[in-house]
């Protein structure tokens, strides 16, 4: 029988139980709290898999822009993590100088669209610290190239393909800034996660690109070295630290 109210289980899951409520946890049926916290985490994972946070963040940004202007700052990472449980990074190849500004926007057919989230907690910057379990949402802009591959390597020598979904799928990319359809949680690989956006104007060889990534991932300088690809293929990378 359930004895703990939902709100208390939510706070216990975040280790934010008010002191006035601690006694209620002690009085709960044995195992209830652990089971319900586990169920919440499963629900979170299902939700994030079904609804990546990128579109929700974009909606929130739109509504913020529609409100009367007032001084804004972004939330501490803990606050965002408690709600959306996700961060976003952006990889932009061939980015003109003005597009690296914090407040950048890009124009697509005359309509301004925000493509960079501001400050730490929402938009991760190169070499920001992350840890196992952090949920990452990737957005990209192929910078006019017609084909692209997004993959990552980590400090354990692992290689993960993020786009396309499978090595056999087409590498066509859409114009403008796009979110990948799924967010993902970082594993416990040590030292770093390094994301690559590989672009070209000809269809890309995904298995060949993955081979090049595997070769790089095994090297001692994998966190810094350039991916060994033909000169006609452009590459941009984005590294996150895992202290």
């Amino acid at each position: 029988m359930t004895t703990l109210p939902d709100w208390l289980v939510e706070r216990a899951a975040l280790d934010e139980v008010p002191s006035a409520s601690r006694a209620r946890l002690d009085q709960a049926a044995p195992g209830e709290l652990a089971a319900r916290v586990a169920a919440l985490r499963e629900d979170n994972a299902r939700e994030l898999a079904a609804y990546p946070p990128g579109p929700a963040v974009a909606q929130i940004e739109d509504r913020l822009r529609e409100r009367p202007r007032r001084r804004r700052r972004w939330l501490a990472p803990a606050l965002v993590a408690a709600g959306l449980a996700a961060a976003a990074i952006l990889i932009i190849p061939h980015a003109p100088a003005h597009e690296t500004d914090e407040t950048e926007t890009t124009r697509v057919k005359g309509r301004a669209r925000l493509i960079v989230f501001k400050q730490v907690g929402d938009h991760l910057r190169a070499d920001d610290a992350v840890r196992a379990g952090d949920v990452i949402q990737l957005r990209y802009n192929a910078g006019g190239a017609r084909y692209g591959v997004i993959a990552s390597i980590d400090g354990a020598g692992g290689v993960t393909l993020h786009f396309p979904a499978t090595p056999e799928a087409t590498t066509d990319v859409e114009a403008g800034t796009r979110s990948l359809p799924e967010a993902f949680a970082l594993d416990d690989a040590p030292r770093f996660e390094r994301f690559f956006l590989v672009t070209a104007n000809e269809p890309l060889d995904v298995p060949g690109t993955l081979d090049a990534l595997r070769t790089l991932a095994r090297r001692g300088d994998a966190a810094d070295a350039v991916l060994d690809l033909p000169p006609a293929i452009h590459q941009a990378s984005f590294r996150l630290r895992k202290p």
Binding site: P5, D6, W7, E10, R11, A13, L14, E16, P18, A20, S21, L40, D43, E47, Y51, A56, Q59, I60, R63, L64, R67, R70, R71, R72, R73, W74, L75, A76, A78, L79, A82, G83, L84
Partner: protein
């Protein structure tokens, strides 16, 4: 957490997702005034207020989730006349201060103790008790009125 809270109060997934966006808009709009401690409490409170405002300003259809919240409060305040109490709460919540509605939901729906409610809304326990007593008195007065 925010989405689950909005779902519980609004009873509708689409409305809950829309409300969730509003919650974060509110949080971000006032971020320079907020402390970062216990963000779950802050998000929970803002989500509750956003949903209550929606219930207050929107003319609900019978199948909407807001009736579920009102029904829970009505049952807690007047189990013998649940249906009538629900209708009266609907009217009452449109005229009562936001804090009273929040207090009622926290205590009567979320089963927070008076101390927990006081902690949550930043009032004294006696202040919370008075608000709840006033709500019950008004409900009773509406019930006996011709």
């Amino acid at each position: 957490m925010v989405l689950r809270r909005c779902r519980k109060l609004l009873g509708d997934d689409t409305a809950a997702r829309d409300a969730m966006h509003d919650v974060f808009v509110q949080v971000l709009s006032h971020a320079d005034q907020l402390a970062d401690q216990a963000p779950s409490s802050l998000l929970f409170r803002i989500a509750t207020n956003v949903c209550l405002n929606r219930l207050r300003t929107k003319r609900r259809r019978p199948e909407d989730g807001g009736d579920g919240v009102l029904a829970e409060i009505a049952e807690a305040t007047d189990p013998a006349a649940r249906s009538a109490a629900r209708a009266m709460l609907d009217t009452l919540f449109r005229s009562e201060p936001d804090t009273t509605a929040l207090i009622a939901v926290l205590h009567l729906v979320d089963r927070m103790t008076l101390e927990e409610v006081a902690d949550e809304v930043g009032m004294s326990v006696s202040g919370v008790r008075k608000r709840l007593a006033r709500l019950r008195t008004k409900l009773h007065a509406m019930e006996v009125a011709p």
